[in-house]
Symmetry: C2
Subunit: 293 residues, 2 copies
């Protein structure tokens, strides 16, 4: 069951539409140029998780793309409408977990008006990956870690609809014995997953630290990583923000990929090389992340 | 007037559809992930120009994306149907020049069937740019010129729907006193325009040479540049294929951006620095290109 609600200034709460029939024009710049942005967030029992973080990041992506998008209240109301419709339609056996996708494109060519919608579907079940972990390949992202600073037109740090490379990286990983990928920069820094943020845990002399690559290397600001970091800090963890190199991953006491729908997934091997994994640590961080969201 | 014809195995000549109403599903991977490929070609008086070169390049893009696309004959028949409908609908005063867009996406999420269509619109008028020329900025593409060879998942050389960076580069150029851009690699090589191929002419000791950047640097194979090169070779020109650096552009006797709809556009300045321009040379190359197409 997919619920679809368009943002439409004539409908303050959003305009529900049938997701089972075509709703997009063939010359929408979202499809002809991948010219738009999106967010994916989790809702549990009809309540969206960390909506502010997602709406903040969407505003930041919009700024990088110089895209005028509907006001925040319009998104909040459309999300509420979509979640209410989704809850209504839920069948017995539903997990109560839904994936909420926010999309805004530059609109139909020449029209000058963005196309914006909220889509809600049942969240896919990632419990097996969360408990068993995944195998990851390191893949070169082609950019050096300074590209974002010198070339804003590369849109590094914006969550755009132009995700063909991210999808190709996932295909490549799956065809080569892995489940997912971690991008590295051409100058050897750890960046991010195609759809996730890299988090690692390190315990040295009784000090426990969570680390993630530095954002100025052109990666997306991870909303799940950030929520986890705040919760971990409150629980006594130290926090660190890169730069990180692959050797840091191998030397860590644990590595995770963090994302909004799948949440925290432990990385069990990188390029076929096994990583340390602690059930206790995985449970502790998962609890922190779950409580924070 | 926009003509739309879907490729559909139940309709050997293509399935005409109304381009004025929504025709795409909201969860087509073409829009949600920019996951698809396209081609833009010119038609004059109902006849497509260099269709084989475009269908060859589309097949090569599809291979890079591991995308199964409809067979070549299906495209040829859909193009013929769309051009016939477009010619029928033409009004008095039409230039007879049409832009034919071929698009194929990975299809609706989970369906496993590509979405493919042909769209025909009147070609925009580029005659002013062709005669007066354009101002260009050099913009860093972020990748080094060896990235394509070592990282196939970057899809360099494929004409994908993930064009947000190309569009951002054009916006940046236009906001900074220019009309278009030429990308350079992070290691200082000349690459391509966001929607065009770079061509330069050089005359030394009576030998006339046309040059273009080397394809292995991760650029798109230019169909217009290639057609021009074949015609120029037959007319006695020497041909050269990079590597080129920005200084080669400034030292040339002329620089052009080549693309299928706009054709050959002379570059009059780069980063505000004026380039040599010869009306005679521009006319000669334009004639060669026009005859070749």
């Amino acid at each position: 069951m997919t619920v679809l609600v368009f943002l439409d200034s004539a409908f303050p709460d959003g305009r529900p539409a049938d997701a089972g029939v075509p709703q997009l024009m063939i010359n929408d710049l979202g499809v002809t140029r991948g010219d738009g942005i999106f967010e994916s967030l989790l809702a549990v029992d009809g309540v969206p998780r960390k909506p502010d973080a997602h709406l903040d990041r969407m505003a930041s992506s919009a700024q990088l793309l110089e895209l005028e998008i509907p006001p925040r209240t319009a998104w909040e109301r459309a999300i509420a409408t979509a979640l209410a419709l989704h809850t209504e339609a839920e069948t017995a056996g539903s997990t109560g977990r839904a994936a909420v996708k926010l999309v805004v494109t530059r609109g139909v060519e020449g029209a000058g008006t963005p196309t914006a919608w909220v889509q809600v579907t049942p969240a896919s079940d990632a419990s097996r990956q969360r408990s068993e972990g995944i195998r990851v390949l390191l893949l070169d992202r082609g950019y050096d870690s300074l590209a974002a600073a010198r070339a804003p037109w590369l849109l590094l740090g914006a969550k755009t609809l132009s995700y063909a490379v991210n999808m190709a990286a996932l295909r490549y990983a799956r065809q080569n014995g892995a489940d997912d990928a971690i991008f590295t920069s051409s100058d050897g820094k750890v960046l991010e997953g195609p759809t996730s943020t890299v988090v690692l845990a390190r315990e040295r002399d009784g000090v426990r630290t969570l680390l993630t690559p530095e954002r100025k290397s052109g990666i997306l600001a991870g909303t799940t990583q950030d929520a986890l970091f705040r919760a971990a800090e409150a629980a006594g963890w130290e926090l660190g923000y890169g730069p990180l190199v692959p050797e840091d991953l191998f030397a860590a006491d644990g590595v995770w990929l963090a994302s909004s729908i799948r949440l925290l997934v432990p990385v069990r091997s990188i390029d076929g090389r096994e990583l340390p994994f602690s059930e206790v640590l995985n449970t502790e961080l998962t609890k922190l992340a779950d409580a924070a969201l």
